[in-house]
Amino acid sequence: MTPRLFELMLWAAGATVLISAVSILIGLAIGFLVCAARVSRTRWLSTPAAVFVSFFRGVPLLVQLLLIYNLLPGFGLYVPSVVAAIAGLSLCTAAYQAENLRGGFMSVPKGLLEAADMVGLSPWQQMRRIRAPIALRLTLPALINEAILILKASSLISVVGVVELTRMAQNLAASTYRPLLFYSVAGGLYLVINWLVAGGGSLAERMLKKERA
């Protein structure tokens, strides 16, 4: 492999990381909102949130991407390739992250909240000082898991015209007739990226534990 081709692989790995990272963050923000709506006692908040989760968790990501890229322009909404990719990944991961967070919030012991009521903490204070910290700690491993899943699922976004790591490996394997080499390099790069993500996750977990002690 020439340095130039390896540079192209690294560039494509960068595209994979950047698009995945942006999608995971946007997905986390949407996930928070959806989770909040989902646990709300108001029906007109919880029902759409439940529909959102069941749709984006129930339809394959590949189909979602094709729908966003090919269907929305039919309604006059032009969606460029990168936007379609980020939208598809974000909405998909938001559905999973909303459920992860919901699990976290449900696990906050009721007794803690009753005690908080007793000492007169407002709902916002309870959220900031009790519920959110506990839920975040509980869902951190699931969030890291989800981040790794999205990094790997991002190989699908080539269907909406974004060249990422897998697509670049396919292209270069085809032009050099050396598929083994390029797929091995792609696999290695994914592995390194995901090690870093997992390592960052463990570090964050340890820091949260220390903070608590």
Binding site: R43, G76, L77, S158, V159
Partner: protein, 276 residues
């Protein structure tokens, strides 16, 4: 309560999706010339028409020919790269102005899309392993497992040809032609059916691995670029059409064909009645 929320959601969805429909469809030629960019959708896995070369650059007949078309029209070319099965849906969705595949001109496609003047011949031939002596002529694939690119006109021709042989052939469909070539090299299939320009190029790049089985078979067909039949696209496609014919008339197209296929093709200016 529950029913009302469903109705509210539907009304909201209708508003979001329906409003932009009222937007006026702008003429494509005006849009392209004022932006100075012609957007072309393609798959970079179709050597020698369109591929990433060994130095990592986007190359092929498409890149050169659209370079000339861009010069004629005074616009830059912006490429959008997708897997082939995503290209035509995205064209209809308006993600780009036209398709630089190119695609084989067939009756079914010509009904739905507008084809530009042919740029090469697309008749099917077989690619085999160079060391495989059991295939000397196309008929020798009878009873063997062969491959072709999914949703390609050549695949349909290959299947029809296979049915005409005693014992038939088993045809395996691949997402891309390159995967089929890789399986052929690995010995998983006996031959790959694709257009002669494509496989002649593959064999010329790897003479130790691949060889072309002569002669081509099936119906004579041609490759052309694709646009839509939407009224707002027609003026733009007329301009592209005229540019290609000019490039063909002054010999530039023949030069590019020689550069990429090793030979020039005698192609008609328009295919009005595709044989396929």
């Amino acid at each position: 309560m529950k029913r009302r929320s469903v109705v509210q959601a539907l009304v909201g969805l209708g508003l979001v999706l329906g409003l932009p429909l009222a937007a006026h469809a702008q003429d494509a030629l005006e849009r392209v010339t004022s932006a100075g960019v012609l957007k072309v959708g393609t798959e970079t896995a179709f050597a020698p028409f369109d591929f990433i070369d060994a130095t990592g650059e986007h190359a092929g007949l498409n890149v050169d020919l659209f370079g000339e078309i861009g010069k004629e029209m005074g616009v830059d070319i912006a490429w959008v790269e997708l897997p082939w099965d995503g290209v035509l849906p995205a064209l209809e969705a308006g993600q780009f102005d036209m398709v630089g595949g190119p695609a084989t001109i067939t009756k079914a496609r010509a009904e739905r899309y507008r084809f530009m003047p042919p740029i090469a011949e697309a008749t099917v031939a077989l690619l085999k392993r160079a060391d495989d002596d059991s295939i000397q002529k196309p008929e020798d694939i009878a009873g063997k497992l062969v491959g072709g690119g999914k949703s390609s006109a050549q695949l349909a021709q290959l299947k029809a040809f296979g049915e005409s042989l005693p014992g038939g052939v088993e045809v395996r469909e691949y997402v891309g032609n390159n995967e089929a070539y890789a399986d052929l090299a690995a010995g998983r299939i006996a031959a790959v059916g694709n257009s002669l320009p494509n496989i002649a190029y593959v064999a010329s790049q790897q003479p130790d691995v691949f060889a072309v089985v002569q002669p081509p078979f099936g119906t004579k067909s041609y490759f052309g670029y694709i646009g839509t039949k939407k009224p707002e696209d027609q003026k733009l496609l007329d301009a592209v059409d005229a540019a290609i014919l000019k490039i063909k008339a002054d010999g530039r197209l023949a030069e590019l064909q020689k550069k990429w296929f090793g030979t020039a093709f005698d192609t008609p200016d328009h295919v009005t009645d595709p044989a396929l």
